[in-house]
Structures are given as structure tokens and as C-alpha cells.
């Protein structure tokens, strides 16, 4: 990709540096250290053991544009062993033991639901409902400061679809042999992003990556070979991007260094949940945001101004109470929105207009208006929200 072309699409930006990845041996060691410390506390200091977690809320993150993602602040919550916490302590220790001994040390993987079932052999200590084990997995992540994919946990959710001018180098997990995947050659299908993406390598001549919220729009773009027309890579998120999808886009962005543009529904959920989470991470995952955010991404649409510019008023829906609350909360509390006046203006404009708009709304002007008119015009203009 040439510098000249890039400048037409997005303002320049320094790619943020990639976060460190820990090996399975290091992760295993960390769990051992944690257990040893607890042992010391109990048997030597004769004190009740504690577990500490960073507080995972928007109120405990800060946003620094240079860093690029929500960084966790120092606030910590402490869980001390007591009558009310003893069950949680017991389950945590057994979960840590399983993670270390059965996954890390044996180089195996497990889904969240499998771990829940695995606990059924723990007698009284077993998890009664899956949300219990899910919560403790989150706690473990936060305590160790490592995302659970690195501990051998695979998400149930799929990672998104990719087509376009990209070659992916994967590895056959059994043979270790390199596998070369040409995403431009998926026919009318697409390459499904795997749940763990750390080992992938990329090669591309595309000008940019377009990350799309809905599968339906993605299929229209694929059907009309939009990735050839626009020389780009297309990624479908299907709603809020999964951790695998976010990590994939991040790694792609880090490695190939081309602009990334997001195209979502024009509603508070699309802005404050899907896009903001993709770009800077979330409060509840603050401790692992550095892995899962894509600071390089910029916002293409649909913006409230688009509703006016593209005459979409009668294809909108009124904001409901939840939308309005979401937008107001973001304006009041979201460090990312509070940092960018452009986003505050966009949300306020939306609140004033009282409507939200979906990506498919362009079908009002004809089914292919979105790829024949809207995308080219927006790309040519090159004005995106931060």
C-alpha cells in the first residue's frame, strides 16, 4: 500500500505497540506462586488468606489517547477468607489447580461449559450453575492479569468472518506445519476466525480493513465482490465483536499497519458498546483491555449526520428508554466519549433527533445504494469519527 493512497482514507496514526504474550510455562508458574503465597500466609503468618482483584468498572479506567486503550487504575477489591467467602475460595483454588495441572501443564484447551461440567466431580464444591464458574474465570483472569485464552480456555462464541485481499498463515495444531489461507478465495463463503489467533501471520496488499456489524451487509458486500472494487479486507462482527474477533483485528492492524474502519448501526449500542469496546476495550475487562482493543480503528458510520445527509429520516426508529439511558450514561461516565468532543456531539445530535438508524436503512434508496454510493462517498471524503 502506498502512503499517498492511505492519506485519502484516514489521518495518520502511530500504531500502538503490541502487548506481551506469556508462555504456558510462565502462566503455570504464576499460579504456583499465588498458591505458595497463600500457603505462607496460612501456615507461617497464621493469617486469613486474601485474594486481590483490580476493580473492573468504567470508574477504574482512564483513557489516554496515546496509550490507545482503557488503562486500568489502581483501585483494588480484596476478598478475605470468611464464612461467606469460603466456598468461593475453595472453588477458586480447585479451578486454579485444574487450570495449571490439566490445561497449562498438559497443553490442552477447554470451553467454559466444559470446565463447569468438569467441576461435577468436585463433590460439594462443584458449581451449581454455569454463571458461577464463569465469574470465577473472570476473577482468575483479573488476579493473574492474563487473558483466559492464554490459559487454554476457548470461547464458545465464534470469532467473526473474513474475506478479501488477505492471506493468513495458520499452523496445523497437530503437525505444526504452516497452513496458508487465501481469504480472497472463499467463494461465496468466508474464512471463519478461529478462537485463538496469537500464532497467525498475515500478508496483504489491501488499502484498509472494513469491520462491519451485521452479517447481512457483509454478505451483500461479498456478493458484489466489494473487497475487489475497494481493495480492502472485510470483517463481519455479527454484533458486539467477540474477544477472538477483537484480538484478530488488533493483530491484523498491528502486523499489516493499514487503516481500520468500523461500520455499525447508528445507535448508542453501536457507538458506545460495539465501537468503543472494539477500539479501547471495556470497563469490566479493564485488566485485559491491552490485548483486546484496536486503537487504530476509526468510525465510518452510520452517524446521526448521515441520517440527514442521506435522507434516512423515515427509515429510522425512535430511541427507546434504554437507548437514551445508554447515551446519557456514556456522556456522563465513559472516559472515551468524554475525551472526544466529536463523539459527544454525535451522541447529543442523536438524542436531539430522537432516532436511531440501522445499516440496512440505506436499502430505502435501493438495495445496492450502500456499496455503490454511501461507502465510496464516505471513503472519498475521508472524515471519520475518532
Amino acid at each position: 500500500m502506498t502512503a499517498k493512497k492511505k492519506s485519502r482514507i484516514v489521518r495518520k496514526r502511530k500504531p500502538s505497540s503490541a502487548p506481551t504474550i506469556v508462555s504456558k510455562q510462565v502462566a503455570s508458574r504464576q499460579i504456583l506462586d499465588l498458591a505458595k503465597e497463600m500457603y505462607e500466609t496460612i501456615m507461617k503468618k497464621r493469617k486469613k488468606p486474601e485474594m486481590q482483584f483490580p476493580i473492573r468498572q468504567l470508574s477504574n479506567v482512564k483513557y489516554d489517547e496515546k496509550v490507545g486503550h482503557f488503562e486500568i487504575l489502581g483501585k483494588v477489591s480484596t476478598r478475605t477468607l470468611s464464612y461467606t467467602t469460603v466456598k468461593t475460595f475453595a472453588q477458586s483454588m480447585r479451578l486454579l489447580a485444574t487450570t495449571k495441572n490439566d490445561l497449562l501443564d498438559k497443553n490442552d484447551i477447554a470451553g467454559k461449559r466444559e470446565i463447569y461440567y468438569n467441576s461435577k466431580s468436585w463433590d460439594a464444591c462443584k458449581f451449581d450453575e454455569q454463571p458461577e464458574s464463569d465469574n470465577l474465570l473472570d476473577d482468575m483472569e483479573a488476579m493473574l492479569g492474563i487473558n483466559r485464552e492464554q490459559l487454554g480456555y476457548i470461547p464458545e462464541e465464534r470469532g467473526g468472518d473474513v474475506t478479501g485481499r488477505l492471506t493468513v498463515f495458520d499452523v496445523n495444531p497437530a503437525t505444526g506445519k504452516e497452513v496458508k489461507i487465501d481469504c480472497a478465495n472463499m467463494g461465496s463463503g468466508a474464512w471463519s476466525v478461529p478462537s485463538r489467533v496469537e500464532h497467525l501471520k498475515f500478508q496483504t496488499k489491501a488499502r484498509f480493513v472494513l469491520v462491519v456489524e451485521t452479517s447481512s451487509l457483509f454478505q451483500r458486500l461479498v456478493h458484489h465482490q466489494y473487497y475487489d472494487t475497494a481493495n480492502c479486507i472485510l470483517v463481519a462482527m455479527s454484533g458486539v465483536p467477540t474477544r477472538a474477533c477483537r484480538r484478530f483485528v488488533r493483530r491484523l492492524a498491528d502486523e499489516v499497519g493499514i487503516p481500520v474502519l468500523a461500520f455499525t448501526d447508528g445507535d448508542p449500542y453501536g457507538y458506545c458498546n460495539i465501537y468503543r469496546t472494539l477500539k479501547v476495550g471495556s470497563g469490566s475487562a479493564a485488566h485485559i483491555n491491552k490485548y483486546f482493543c484496536v486503537p487504530q480503528v476509526h468510525y465510518l458510520g452510520v452517524t446521526p449526520q448521515d441520517v440527514i445527509d442521506y435522507d434516512l429520516q423515515d427509515a429510522t426508529h425512535p430511541l427507546n428508554d434504554k437507548d437514551i439511558k445508554r447515551a446519557r450514561d456514556a456522556l456522563d461516565n465513559d472516559p472515551f466519549i468524554k475525551h472526544h468532543k466529536e463523539w459527544q456531539d454525535a451522541l447529543n445530535q442523536m438524542l436531539k433527533m430522537g432516532v436511531r438508524v440501522e445499516q440496512q436503512a440505506f436499502a430505502k434508496h435501493g438495495l445496492n445504494f450502500v456499496l455503490e454510493e454511501y461507502l465510496p462517498r464516505k471513503l472519498k471524503l475521508g472524515k471519520f469519527l475518532p
Binding site: M38, L81, Y83, A90, M93
Partner: protein
Amino acid sequence: MAAKRKAKKPETAESMAAQQREISVSEFFLKNRHLLGFDSPAKALGTAVKEAVDNSLDAAEEAGILPEISVEIRQLTAKRFRMTVIDNGPGIVQAQIPKIFAKLLYGSKFHRLKMSRGQQGIGISAAGMYGQLTTGQATQIISKTKGKKLAQSVLVQIDTRTNKPVLLKETEVEWCPEFSPYDAVADKEKRTVRYAHGTLVSIEMEGSYRRGKLSVDEYIKQSAIVNPHLQLYYRVIMEKDAEELEEQELDMCWTTYFRVLKHLPDLPMEIKPHPHGVELGILMQMLQDSPSRTLRGALSEDFSRVSGPAANKICEAAGLNPKANPRRIAHHESEALYTAIQEVKLMRPPTDCLSPIGEDDLLAGMKKEVDADFYTATTRNPTVYRGNPFQVEVALAYAKPGQEEVNADDPVRVMRFANRVPLLYMGGACAMTKSVAGVKWKSYGLNHPKGGVPQGPVVLMLHIASVWVPFTSESKEAIAHYPEIIKELTFALQDVGRKLSTFLSKRKRAAEQARKRNYIEMYIPHMALGIAEIMDLDEKQEVRIVDQLTDMLEKTHLET
């Protein structure tokens, strides 16, 4: 639409005057007998039994006799019953019998200020009148007073147009009250007790016998509970039983409620009216009627709690001469006197006119009623509404699990009593039910649906003792909503509520302790196992972790 009427000559003042007539109170209540509790055959039977038993109890107590009463209900035909009540009371002087049993508004209790079961002088005569109306039969009375050799046997009806008794038959007979039911065997030895005095009353009436919460059975049972000094025999003989059973078998049908207290309750004293409860019209009447020569004398002798100095003070405040003739006080002067009385400070009315059941006897009664894990009772100090002294008592039991009719999910059972008489009907209209619903039972540990009665395995007994219990109707089934009464009931209920709350939380705490210990002992080994697996420790080390952790946690959580 109705066809055109025949023209009728209009009335004149004179023609209308000719139609004016006095209405006797008997005629009035005959037509309105639902006001007296005789609205349905089932209720009529219960009301009649209640009036007879109340009278027997009042008479025996006033005469200082430990009461012994038998109640028999016998079905004659499908819809006709005969009720017979026999007591060991002092008996009734011959001349009074007809009026007491066949004249409405006649009695000894209305005009005095003293706690008693009866108060209106209507009940037993109304029962007789109802019997007469529905069966045409007269009321039979046999009564023997102390010292007389023979008893008086009387058949009497009521002339409803004049509210006067009609004596049908009067003879002297050999009779004395005798109680020797088979059931007495349970008391170790069979005994037959004969008394030298007593009364039998027997009324035939249209009726219907049912069981359940609103039945004669329930009235009898509750009466025995609040009158622990009463020995009561009760049997119901249905038409079918009478045909099929031998007399000796019928003797076996008696149920005996044994006396548990060998002495009478304190006799209530009669008092004079308190000036603060008297209305202007009554005050004027009393001055007119006073035997005193002076206003001061009238005030201090006809009223309670008015000393000579207090009387002077009142006269002074009213600008009246204490030596004035009370019968010559002008209207505006009485108004001044009335105002002055309200302003002068006086002692509260005396309260020895009341005889509460007392906390011990309430508890004893409650223990008969329900097998509970916890009992408590409270008797409030006497106080006053509209010048009438009254006193409330409440007992509460928290039933053991599995008690019939006392389920944790049902509304609590409320038993209401006024002057030791059970109240069965019209609970919804009663100040007692209102008070129970008004207390915040949630804070005492019971479930309490908004606006309703609380729920739980609880039995509540409420008692009001007063010289004049204000009922919502002549049938005396519900207490009127006087704020002073509701307030006292509420205080008493809150008192037992607090005690219940203490009991429940103590019990809860003990259960909590056990639960905590189990819980800790269940999870500690898993925690140790996790640590051991991660650190690859041996079993001995693991056991040491378990011991240390158990020790620490139990110290914190179990020794509070």
C-alpha cells in the same frame, strides 16, 4: 307497570293521629331479630346457648360459687332443636323468673358500672321469643334457691305486643342440679355432684347444628379456655342418635371441660360514673335525681373521684354556689358546670370494677388450645374510653410444626373475647381484628400481606374487659372502633410481638450457627486440596492446612 290504583281518600292530621301507636320493644326486635343474632337457624342456636351460659356464669360468680354448667342440644325433628342449660348458680327468686326470661330490656346489669358478661337485659328473653316465634313453645325454667326445699318450675311466654311475660304454668317440684357425666371417669373417680341451688333453662326452637369455626362447639371450647374456673359438660344429640342409642350410651356422649382453677376470679366492684365521661344531658339528669341537698354533695357523692375540695373547685370554676340545690340549677348554669368539670384535673376512674383473666390464666388457656414452641401473654393496665374503664389482654402462641389448623402459610388464628365471652361472628368488623391487622408484624418476624391479618403458625387471644363493652350491634359480636381501645390493643399486640421476635431470632441464631459450622467444614478441605494440588503437597501437609483454616474460621464465626 302496575295498573291504575283505586282512588283512596287522603289522610288528614286527625286520621293520621288515630293510627299512631306505641311499638313494644319486643315487637320491634321480633321483626328485626337479625339484629339480635337470630338471622339464621344455625346462628340462632349458638346465640341462645351463649346467652344462657353467659347468664349462668355471671350469676354463679356474683354469688361466689365455682360454676358448674351443663349444655345439651337435642335435635327433635329435622329443623327443630331443644337447648337445655343447667347451672349450680344461686337460683332465681320466684317472682323474678318470668320477667328475666320473658321481657326484653330487663335485668340487673344495664344500670351499673361493673364488668359482667351480660349487659343489655335482652339476650335470654330474645332466645325465648325466637323459640316461641318459630315453634310456638314456651320457655321452661326450673330454679332452686338456697334454703328452699323445692324448686320452682315455670313455663313462660312473652306477650310481644306489651313486652310482658305470660306465665303459663308455675309449680313446685323436687329438683336439684346434678352433674355426673361418664366422662368424669377421666378424673380418676366417677362422682355425682348435687347442689342445693341452681337453674335450668330449656328452649325449643328452629335451628340447625353445624361444626366448625362458627359453631356452638367452638363457643363452648373457647368459653372453657377463658373461664378456667368453670367445669363444663356438653353434648349434642342428633335425631338419629336418639333413636339408635340406649340412654346409657347417650350418657357417654358428654364432653367434659375440666376446671383447672379452684378459685373464682376477683369479683369486680361496682363504681359510680366518672365526671369526665359524662355528657351534658346526663349531667343535668343526675343533678335532677341527686339525693344530695347541695351541689357539692351531689358532685362528690354521685360521681367517683370527686373529693369535697375537688367539688368546691368545680363550683368555683363554674361560678356556682357549692351549697346550691342541685335540682335548681338552670340550663346555662349546667353548661358552665359541664365546662368547669372538663377543666378541673381529677384522678382517673377506679378500676377494681374490672376483673381481667390475667397473664397466667391466659397462658394456661392457650396451652389447652395449641401445642406450641413458645407462649407469651400480656395484661395492660386499665384505662378509660368515654369515661368507661377498660382493660385489654393478649396472649400469643407460636405453634409446633404440624399442628392442625395452624399452618405457617395461613393467616394467624385470632380468638376474640369480651368480658370472658368468646366472639365468633363478624370478625371483619371488629376493632380487635383491625388492631391485629394494624401492627407491623413484619418487624416481629411474621409474613404480613398489606392491609390484612399476618400469616404464620400463630394463635392470638385478645380479651377486653370493661364495664360497658361497645359492640357494633345488639348481637354483641364485634367491638366498635373506639380509638382508645384500638390503641391499647395495639400496645398489647406490640408487646407480645416483641417477645415473639426475641424468641424467633434466638432460634434463628442457633440454626445459623449449626449451618455455618457445616458450611465451613464442607469447603475448607476443598480449598486445601486445591492448594495441595498446585503445590504438589503430601496428604499430611494438606491435613495441616485444613486444621489451621478450620481453626481460624471457627474462631471468627462461631464464638460470637
